[in-house]
Symmetry: none
Subunit: 242 residues, 4 copies
DNA sequence: GATGAATGAGTATTCATTCAT
DNA sequence: GATGAATGAATACTCATTCAT
């Protein structure tokens, strides 16, 4: 059960410069500090935080940030890529669970925990569409895995028949929103609403309503993720220079 | 069944100037035009739309906007207040429904439809907290009504026992998030997730999980709504001038 | 002999706002001050001067500059348009001269004086390509007039046969360069080199060399003026935001 | 006929370090690579190219560039010096021509070809003035040679009597401007305007105008080249750090 | 009262130059 | 000595808010 190769790794890995050579020790350390600072700042204040903030938080000049990342979007993307890697690993582990329901739940819960903990991550996944090759989230990496998770559970009769794999990201976004809603007052409240939703995923009963509005198709998810328009809606991120 | 008195009227009513005297006819008309324009602009583009946009849309100068509303936040707040009025009316009507489940559902659905249709409204409710006296949402106007809706349904055995009245706003935020998520590609998709959640509100079965993380108390809702920190997080609203 | 209607006047005249209504008195005054300041600053330091400089020179905030002109390019363009209007008037007057040689010389000299006096103007004309509709310089306004000037002189046998109308702008650029070269030490030195060149425009003798390298065609001039690549070469102007 | 000793060698020669000791073999090789790279990059993109570009092109780090040249200006100056060496050699060869007119023309043409081919060189000469000791252009090396070229031609009656030796650099600048003007569309167009100007250098006729505005004196040329103010006007070179 | 003009702090990004490895 | 990482001042542009007309 190894992690799938990230598409980004075909190009440049986090530890490499533009030319493919490994970064110098100090540069690597600063890169980490910047990513760490970005994580903290974006987690707390979201993507509208300034790169000056991030740089200051990392204890470096803003030029250093730009040496490592061509622009704000790329920095956010690098962060996102890490998190998505982590989510993919979660999904893989969940597929290994003996019980298909337990597997699905464990993935959804852990993924939600990630979104709930990070305002920036939630914004980025919510509004999608970063970079061309790297915004691989649902499309390239997670969606196939969650599709398997859902199908397996359906075969086992563990979830309702009209649940679609594309419902999973939607559910996560909603739970992320719940977390965002009460973040400052009760950071764990989202668990309550995740539980509520999970309950409704169980097999149909006589009083279950057939779900209206068919779920998004995988293509629509792709479209959603890739639409430039969506990116333009993230406040602190809309204007690539030049 | 008349609309409950707005708490805002304890301060200054929409029809009065700073000195308490009623606005001149034309001033009142301008106020309306501005609110109408703000509704349209914020609905479409969210709160990061500029006040120049709003003013232009209203056919007035920005100065006029500032004459009627001390700042952007106050304008948004006034709009929010109106929408809350509308939601309150919905809740009152829902209480009049013969079937308590139907009543609850009808309120939740219509409220969600409002959030889903209005990007600005969702942002405002999402990030909460406008003004001191006027952020009356759950606290003063809606929460008592939804509390009744929920309790009535519980007495009828129509909803699960561990549902809390404060879950209702949380659910609406989540559904609003679902709407925001797919707004451009499938504006009605949120109905799917509302249906999912509604399913889970039904009375417990043997396989129902007890909800973890107790719901917010009414006080916490109040606190949530009133916390100034939250306001600072709305992108288009965050920068106090000077 | 009236001045040809500027293509810009089809859209918005200098005295009108975006909506076509005349500017308020104070706005008009500031617009003038800004243009005046821009003229002075660009004249002295060229187009790489900052808008902050221009604003400060005009005694206004930089926001005011942006209220009147959408970006730096547009400001430069507005200036350029004025100057081009002036040049067109010169050309028209030159056409009215009794003696065709005198007419041609008077135009070339006065136009050169303009370029020589204004570093920014020379840069803009040199590197061309501003705006879509307004970069009308040679193409739409001056070139037809200078073409007439040249042809008339040729018919009178006052200039050499192989002179092309498109040589006129090229000559002006060269003289502008000469002015630029010695601007700080001898602002009028360019007149010497203009005289030199004018001498060579006289009808051929036995020792006159046939000019190599055919002149630019009017289409090539247009292409030169309109090529985005050229614009990218002006240091202070290359990056339209967004 | 050997090349005249460069004034720079009074200070530090290209083959020596700060302490006067000759550079190590590899250091010398790096210096050459950097100059070669700078030549290519500045030729193509002008002086606004970045030193990172130059360094990358040379296959060295920026630090190495700064080890060899104190700053960007000095690098440009070193390049300029080389080119001036080359121009001086051209002038010497031209003096050896049997026909004084042919000699003058051949020098002017070849010098113009250099300026026309090299955007950076033209910028540097246009805006003049590098360093104190090294700005040896007209003053120390070329001007005496061109003076001889001109005087010889005048004695032979091959050029007009009022031509001054200091007109030669001015003419070259103008022709360089013509080249710059049409560089992308017709790289050889400058030859047309050079031919035009050369025509006017011929001996006076009855219709020749006496040149107005006496030419620069040698002292003025020196002053022009040495004026610090001019240096500040080269776009890619203007900003002294700190 | 209404208007829209003026303001200027704030944001992303670049690049010459310095300095640790 | 070489490298390339770090720095931060500088630049174009936006928009909430204030103020003169």
């Amino acid at each position: 059960m190894t992690s799938i190769t990230s598409p980004a790794q075909k190009g440049r890995s986090p530890g490499q410069g533009d030319d493919g050579r490994p970064l110098r020790r100090d540069a690597q350390r600063n890169r980490e500090r910047i990513l760490q600072a970005a994580a903290e700042v974006f987690t707390e204040r979201g993507l509208d935080a300034t790169l000056d903030d991030v740089a200051h938080h990392a204890g470096v000049g803003v030029g250093t940030v730009y040496r490592r990342f061509p622009n704000k979007e790329a920095l956010a993307e690098a962060l996102y890529e890490r998190r998505v890697d982590a989510l993919a690993v979660l999904a893989e582990r969940a597929l290994a669970a003996r019980d298909s329901w337990v597997g699905l739940v464990s993935f959804v819960e852990q993924a939600a925990a990630s979104l709930a903990a990070d305002r920036g991550l939630w914004q980025i996944v919510m509004y999608a569409s970063y970079g061309r090759d790297r915004c691989a989230y649902a499309r390239e990496r997670i969606l196939p895995l969650t599709t398997k998770l859902v199908q397996r559970a359906q075969q086992d009769g563990a979830v309702r028949a009209d649940l679609s794999p594309t419902d999973i990201p939607a559910i996560e976004f909603m739970v992320g929103a719940a977390a965002e809603y009460a973040r400052h007052i009760r950071p764990e409240l989202w668990r309550r609403y995740l539980a509520l939703i999970l309950d409704s995923l169980r097999p149909s009963r006589e009083d279950t309503t057939e779900l209206p509005e068919r779920a998004l198709s995988p293509d629509e998810i792709t479209q959603l993720m890739g639409s430039g328009a969506a990116a333009a809606r993230i406040p602190g991120l809309a204007r690539p220079h030049r």
